[in-house]
């Protein structure tokens, strides 16, 4: 139960940050990506603020033995640059550039119950599920020797 409450609180603060920063507004995000138009640099300030605070928080976490409510830290373990990383990020970039919406703001904006956001979130879930299916199938057809469970996420 404490774990659930803590996760909820973190999601809440994360969402408040997204709203206050203006990053839930697709037009503001597109304004940042539109470097050939009326460029709006706000997103850079958001990133700077977020990275600065998260760096301090993560440094603190690195010095602790374990998180408060779990037995260990789940730091991403991979450091290789592979094709899926680059291709996946490129596909993500096209989608992000088309709509100005990424997963965090999409979920926050669900509260507005507008048709475009609902369509976007359903499509996003399908895309995520589609990747799971695709990956499961390719793993099933040619089992990688030894490299059984590749770790999943950077985030």
């Amino acid at each position: 139960m404490p774990l659930v409450l803590a996760s909820f609180a973190c999601g809440l603060v994360f969402g408040i940050g997204l709203l206050i920063s203006g990053m839930t507004e697709p037009q503001k995000v597109l304004g940042f990506l539109d470097i050939f138009g009326a460029w709006d640099a706000t997103l850079a300030f958001v990133m700077a603020g977020a990275v600065a605070v998260a760096s301090a928080g993560f440094a603190l976490a690195r010095r602790s033995r374990a998180p408060l409510l779990a037995s260990s830290f789940s730091w991403p373990s991979r450091s290789d640059i592979d094709a899926p990383l680059v291709i996946g990020s490129a596909l993500f970039g096209i989608g992000w550039g088309l709509a100005g919406i990424c997963p965090g703001p999409a979920l926050v904006n669900l509260a507005g119950l507008s048709a475009p956001i609902i369509v976007f979130v359903i499509a996003m879930a399908l895309g995520m599920f589609g990747y799971e299916l695709w990956q499961r199938r390719s793993v099933a057809t040619r089992p990688p020797p030894g490299a059984a469970i590749a770790t999943r996420s950077d985030g």
Partner: protein
């Protein structure tokens, strides 16, 4: 025509002042209407960083939204033991509920509410959503996981991923808005 544009602009500015930031009542035709808001950007960003720090310090998890949401959709055959799998889903649902709750609470204090983009082109949102969902899982992260947490960890993978998706997104907007290369 110019007169109409002007009144709409004034109305928008009023609305913007009232609601502090962000809100554009009609996102159609607001192409040139976004201004730099560095202070609310920095403050909001700091809250995002705080949330990522809290999630790590409290639960040991990384605050990557695509990873958190994607984990809900993977049946996770490697952790089929129901108790553990269930609690793995629960914290993810709690985090996402928190995200949505933010958009219900912040407006009560005079802050911006959830964006409601004009639904002129639902097909575009569907295509964009598919690409964002598929791409973020394939690339193991999105703006939060790679962009914020990855940079904070100085992860080479995340820095490369962020450069790629930012670059591609900038190119996409350039083509869509300015028709470069088309």
């Amino acid at each position: 025509m110019a007169g109409v544009g002007k009144t709409a602009d004034i109305g928008w500015r009023k609305a913007r002042r009232r609601r502090n930031i962000g809100a554009d009542p009609a996102s159609q035709g607001t192409r040139t209407m976004h201004n730099l808001t560095p202070l609310s950007g920095l403050f909001g960003g700091a809250l995002i960083g705080l949330a990522a720090s809290m999630l790590m310090l409290l639960t040991g998890r990384l605050a990557g939204v695509s990873g958190i949401a994607g984990g809900l959709l993977s049946s996770g055959s490697d952790k089929a033991f129901s108790g553990k799998a269930l609690s793995d889903k629960t914290w993810r649902i709690a985090f996402i509920t928190g995200l949505i709750a933010a958009a219900l609470i912040v407006p009560l204090f005079g802050g911006p509410s959830a964006a409601r983009p004009a639904s002129a082109n639902l097909v575009l949102f569907a295509i964009a959503g598919l690409l964002v969902g598929f791409g973020s899982r394939m690339g193991n992260g999105c703006t939060s996981g790679h962009g914020v947490c990855g940079f904070a960890r100085l992860s080479a993978r995340s820095i490369i991923a962020t450069i790629v998706f930012m670059g591609v997104a900038v190119a996409t907007v350039a083509i869509v808005r300015h028709g470069f290369g088309g």
